[in-house]
C-alpha cells in the first residue's frame, strides 16, 4: 500500500518536473534577444556564419527535438554544456555549488527554528504581556525587511563602517570558505549570511506559531487537558505545540525545499556565496538555457520532494488527515 502511494507520488513528481522543463524551454525561446546562436556567433557575424552556428549547435532543429536532446544530455548522458561558456559542463558546476547552499540553509534553519519556537512559545505563554508585545513587534520588524536590503546593510556595517571596531573585526571578507578547508573560517564567514537569512523566517514562524498556539489553547481538547489537571507548561508542550506544529512543518518543508533549491538567490548574490542561488542568478543574467534548465530542475526536484515529504508528515502528525488520501 505504502509502496503504491510512493509510486504515485513519484509519478506526480515526474509530471511536475516535465511540465516545468517544458515551460522553461518555451519561455526561453519566446524571449526576444535570447537567441543563443546570435550570441554564440558574436558581434557582427554575417547571416551565413549565424546559420552555420545555428546548425553546429543543433539550434536549427524543431523545438521538440531540441528539447529531447537537451533532456538526454542533462539526465541520461549528463554531459550538457553551456551555451555561453561552450564546453563548460553544467552538472559538475551545479554539484560544486550545492555544499555552499546547504551550508547556508542548514545553519540558517537551525537558527530560525530555535529562535522561532522560543519566541513563539514564550509569547503564547505570556500572551497579552509586555514581553509578548515586544517579541511580536520584533518578529514583525524581522519579517518586514527586504532580505537583500538587510544583507546590504549588514555588509555596510560589518565590512565597512564598523569593520575596524571590536564588534566586527572578526568578520572575514565576503565569500565562502569550504568546511573541509578551514572549519573556523567557514563558520565565521557564514555567521552574517545565516543571521540575515534567518531573520525573516524567525519573524514569520514565531508569529504563525504564536497565533496557532493561542488558537489551540482555546480548543476543546486543551480544555480537557486542563481539566485533567495538567500544568500550563505541559498543556503547551504536550498538546498545543504538537497541534500547532502542523502548519509550521508544512511551512518549513516548503521553505527549506525552496531555499536548498536556490531560493536563497539574493542572499547568495549579496554575500558573494557561490551557491546554487548564485548559479541560478548568473544563468538568468546570462540567459544561458542549459544552466537555467539545470538549476531550475535541481531546484524543482528539491521543492517537489519537500512537498511530498510535507504531505507524508501530515499523515504522521495529524491523525485526522489520515485516510484523506
Amino acid at each position: 500500500m505504502i509502496f503504491l502511494v510512493l509510486l504515485r507520488r513519484l509519478a506526480e513528481m515526474v509530471f511536475v518536473l516535465f511540465s516545468i522543463s517544458v515551460l522553461v524551454f518555451l519561455i526561453f525561446f519566446a524571449t526576444p534577444g535570447a537567441d543563443p546562436a546570435a550570441r554564440i556567433a558574436g558581434r557582427g557575424a554575417s547571416p551565413a556564419t549565424l546559420a552555420a552556428v545555428r546548425h553546429a549547435f543543433g539550434l536549427d532543429q524543431p523545438l521538440p527535438v531540441q528539447y529531447g536532446l537537451m533532456m538526454k544530455h542533462l539526465f541520461i548522458t549528463q554531459d550538457l554544456t553551456s551555451f555561453v561558456n561552450p564546453g563548460q559542463l553544467v552538472i559538475p558546476a551545479v554539484l560544486q555549488a550545492v555544499p555552499v547552499t546547504l551550508s547556508l540553509v542548514f545553519g540558517a534553519a537551525v537558527i530560525w527554528l530555535i529562535f522561532a519556537v522560543a519566541i513563539g512559545v514564550t509569547a503564547a505563554a505570556l500572551r497579552g504581556s509586555v514581553i509578548d508585545r515586544s517579541l511580536m513587534f520584533l518578529a514583525m520588524a524581522g519579517v518586514s525587511m527586504p532580505v537583500f536590503w538587510l544583507g546590504e546593510v549588514a555588509n555596510l556595517i560589518t565590512q565597512a563602517r564598523f569593520h575596524n571596531t571590536v564588534l566586527f573585526s572578526w568578520v572575514p571578507a565576503l565569500g565562502y570558505v569550504p568546511l573541509t578547508q578551514n572549519p573556523l573560517l567557514w563558520f565565521k564567514s557564514l555567521v552574517i549570511p545565516w543571521t540575515v537569512l534567518a531573520v525573516t523566517y524567525i519573524g514569520l514562524y514565531s508569529r504563525v506559531l504564536r497565533a496557532n498556539l493561542v488558537e489551540a489553547l482555546t480548543e476543546d481538547y486543551i480544555r480537557t487537558a486542563r481539566a485533567k489537571g495538567l500544568s500550563e507548561r505541559q498543556v503547551i508542550f504536550r498538546h498545543a505545540l504538537r497541534m500547532s506544529l502542523i502548519t509550521l512543518v508544512s511551512m518549513f518543508g516548503l521553505d527549506f525545499g525552496a531555499l536548498v533549491g536556490g531560493g536563497a538567490l539574493l542572499i547568495e548574490v549579496v554575500c558573494a556565496l557561490p551557491g546554487v542561488g548564485m548559479l541560478t542568478y548568473q544563468a538568468l543574467q546570462n540567459l544561458d538555457l542549459p544552466f537555467i534548465m539545470a538549476t531550475v530542475m535541481y531546484g524543482a526536484i528539491f521543492i517537489v520532494a519537500a512537498n511530498t515529504v510535507v504531505d507524508m508528515l501530515y499523515l504522521l502528525i495529524d491523525p485526522r488527515a489520515r485516510g484523506a488520501r
Partner: protein, 546 residues
C-alpha cells in the same frame, strides 16, 4: 672616446638585463565578476580574453606591443617580415620563421598555418562571413564549414612561404589576421570550438587550466624563445592567474589590500572612485579608449524617422552630464561624431553644440526646442532600452529625462546586459532608441563607418543586425566603397574621404554620440611597468609584480 661609449652601452645593457632579471618572476593576479566564454582564440570575441590570448598565441603578423599610438602598427610575428601587398592588393606572401615550437613541443610548420585558416571556418569564427570569406575559397567554406579547404586561398610553398590570395583587395587584411582570430594553432587541433580545453600556442605563456566558475591560469611556455620582441616580448611574471566570482566593491577592497593586481571588469564602482583617487593616486592609470558610447536612433520608425526629432535630441543632450555619470570629467570626452579621437581619418567635428566647431561645449536647448517644434513629435511615446551593467542604467535614465524635457513621453527599460545588445539589433523588437557602446576591432575607420552604418549591415528580423539605427543611404554606401578602394593605393587620400564620410554620418544624426570613454585601471601597489596598448589595453607580458 668611442670605447668608453661602448663600455657604457655594454654596462647599460648588463644593467638592463639585471633589471629585467630582478623583476622576473611572481604571479600576476587578475580578477573579475564572471568568466567570458570559450578560450578558443579563433572563437572568443571579448576584450577581456583577447588581452590574455595575445600573450599565448601568435599570428603571422601582430600589433606592436607598446604604449601609445605605435601600438596600432603591424609588425612581423611568426612571419619574418610584413609583406607588401602584390597583384593590386590581392596577394600577400609571408615567410614563416624557422625553429619555433608550440607549447606542446611540436614545431610550427606551413601546414599549421594552412590548417589554422581553414579552422576559422570550421569553428564558425564570428567574422568568417564578414572578413575571412574574402580569402579565395572562403565563400565555399562558409556554406560547408565541416569540409573547408582553401587550396587556392592559402598556399604553403616548399621554402616555408605562405601565399594568401584574396578575392578582392582589402586594405584591412593584415589587421584582420593580426587579431587573436589569426592565431596559428597546431594543425591537429580539433575542428570545433574547444570551449574549456586549452589549445597549444607559441607565446611566452601557455594556458594551463580553465574553469569558467573559478579561474583561467596561464604559465610560462617552456618552449618559448624570443623571436620578435616587438610582437611577442618575453614576459616578466611566471604565471597569470585570472580568478572569477569577485564583484566590483569587493575587488576594489582586495586590490587595495594587495590580494589582486587588477580588476578586469570594465567599470569600477563609481562611488569608490573618489576614495581610490585620493588614497591611491599612484595605483590609477587612465587611458583613452577607441570607443563610442552612443544612442542609436531608429531612423525607420517614429518618432526618430523624423530628422528634426533626431537633431533635437542631439542638440539637447548635455554630453558633459553623461561623462559625469560615467565617472567624472577625466574619464571621458564629450563627442558628437562617429570616429573616436586619434583614429585614422579623425577630424574633430561637432555641429550639435552651442558654438558649432571642433569641440562640444554646451547643449543648445533653444535650437533643440525649435527642431522639436518642427518635427511635430511632441507627446510621442518613446522607450529607451538600456542594459543593467555598470553606469548604463543611469545613462538610460538620463537620456529618458532629456527626452521628457524635449516633450516626448519617455520611459527607460532596463534589460539584462546579455540580451540587450541582441535585442536592440533585431528590427522585430521595434526599438526606438537605446544606449550602447562600440569598441574598435582594429584602427580602420571602416570599423565604425562601414560596419555600423551601411545598408549591408541591416538584416531584418535577425538578432545580428549591427546597423542598429537602420541607417541606409545608397550614396553614403558608395562613398564608403570608394574610400575602401582608395585605402589600398593611397591611404592618405582615403583618410580624407573617411573624414568626409564621418561628417556625413554625423550630420544624418542616426546616432546621438555621447562620449568617448577612457579606461581606468586600478592596480595593486606592487604592479610595475604599466604599458597600455590602444588595441589590447594593459599588456601582461610587459608588467612585473616584483
Amino acid at each position: 672616446m668611442k670605447t668608453i661609449w661602448l663600455i657604457a652601452a655594454a654596462l647599460l645593457a648588463v644593467m638592463q638585463a639585471a633589471h629585467a632579471q630582478n623583476h622576473r618572476g611572481g604571479t600576476l593576479k587578475l580578477v573579475a565578476a564572471s568568466s567570458d566564454g570559450s578560450i578558443d582564440p579563433q572563437v572568443n570575441y571579448t576584450d577581456q580574453y583577447w588581452q590574455l590570448f595575445i600573450v599565448a598565441y601568435d599570428g603571422l603578423v601582430a600589433f606592436r606591443k607598446s604604449a601609445g599610438s605605435s601600438s596600432n602598427d603591424i609588425v612581423p610575428d611568426l612571419a619574418t617580415s610584413v609583406p607588401a601587398p602584390q597583384d593590386g592588393g590581392k596577394t600577400y606572401v609571408f615567410k614563416l620563421r624557422q625553429n619555433i615550437k608550440f607549447s606542446n613541443g611540436q614545431p610550427v610548420t606551413p601546414a599549421d598555418v594552412v590548417a589554422s585558416f581553414e579552422r576559422l571556418f570550421k569553428v564558425n569564427n564570428p567574422n568568417a562571413g564578414s572578413w575571412y570569406n574574402n580569402i579565395v575559397g572562403g565563400d565555399k567554406c562558409l556554406t560547408a564549414p565541416a569540409t573547408c579547404t582553401l587550396p587556392d586561398g592559402v598556399v604553403a610553398g616548399d621554402d616555408g612561404t605562405i601565399t594568401i590570395h584574396l578575392v578582392k583587395p582589402n586594405p584591412e587584411f593584415l589587421y584582420q589576421i593580426a587579431l587573436p582570430f589569426g592565431a596559428i594553432l597546431p594543425a591537429a587541433t580539433p575542428p570545433h570550438d574547444m570551449g574549456t580545453i586549452p589549445i597549444p600556442g607559441t607565446g611566452p605563456y601557455a594556458i594551463t587550466s580553465y574553469d569558467p566558475q573559478k579561474a583561467f591560469i596561464l604559465q610560462r611556455n617552456p618552449y618559448f624563445k624570443v623571436f620578435s620582441p616587438e610582437a611577442q616580448p618575453d614576459g616578466y611574471v611566471n604565471e597569470i592567474d585570472f580568478e572569477f566570482g569577485v564583484t566590483g566593491e569587493n575587488a576594489v577592497t582586495a586590490i587595495e589590500n594587495g590580494q589582486y593586481d587588477l580588476d578586469m571588469d570594465p567599470s569600477l564602482p563609481a562611488d569608490r572612485l573618489a576614495e581610490m583617487s585620493t588614497r591611491f593616486p599612484r595605483q590609477i592609470y587612465i587611458n583613452p579608449l577607441l570607443a563610442d558610447y552612443y544612442a542609436p536612433m531608429n531612423v525607420n520608425i517614429p518618432p526618430f524617422s523624423n530628422l528634426n526629432a533626431r537633431l533635437a535630441v542631439n542638440y539637447a543632450l548635455n554630453r558633459r552630464d553623461t561623462v559625469q555619470i560615467y565617472g567624472g570629467k577625466n574619464l571621458g570626452v564629450p563627442a558628437c561624431q562617429i570616429l573616436p579621437p586619434g583614429f585614422p581619418g579623425y577630424q574633430p567635428y561637432c555641429p550639435y553644440t552651442k558654438n558649432p566647431g571642433p569641440k562640444w561645449t554646451a547643449p543648445d536647448l533653444a535650437k533643440a526646442q525649435s527642431y522639436m517644434q518642427k518635427s511635430g513629435m511632441a507627446g510621442q511615446k518613446v522607450t529607451v532600452i538600456t542594459d543593467d551593467e555598470g553606469v548604463d542604467p543611469a545613462l538610460g535614465t538620463y537620456l529618458g529625462s532629456v527626452l521628457n524635457q524635449l516633450g516626448f513621453v519617455a520611459t527607460t527599460h532596463v534589460l539584462s546586459a546579455n540580451i540587450q545588445f541582441n535585442y536592440i539589433q533585431n528590427t522585430n523588437n521595434k526599438v526606438q532608441i537605446s544606449i550602447t557602446l562600440w569598441y574598435d576591432d582594429y584602427p580602420a575607420p571602416s570599423d565604425f563607418l562601414n560596419v555600423l552604418l551601411t545598408c549591408g549591415q541591416i538584416h531584418p528580423g535577425s538578432d545580428n543586425s549591427v546597423n542598429i539605427a537602420g541607417y541606409c543611404n545608397k550614396q553614403y554606401d558608395a562613398k564608403v566603397q570608394a574610400a575602401l578602394r582608395d585605402a589600398i593605393t593611397d591611404p592618405a587620400k582615403a583618410n580624407t574621404e573617411w573624414a568626409a564620410i564621418d561628417k556625413q554620418a554625423t550630420d544624418a544624426a542616426a546616432w546621438a554620440t555621447l562620449f568617448n570613454p577612457k579606461q581606468l585601471d586600478f592596480v595593486s601597489a606592487r604592479l610595475g611597468n604599466y604599458t597600455f596598448s590602444e588595441q589590447f589595453h594593459l599588456l601582461f607580458d610587459k608588467v612585473w609584480v616584483q
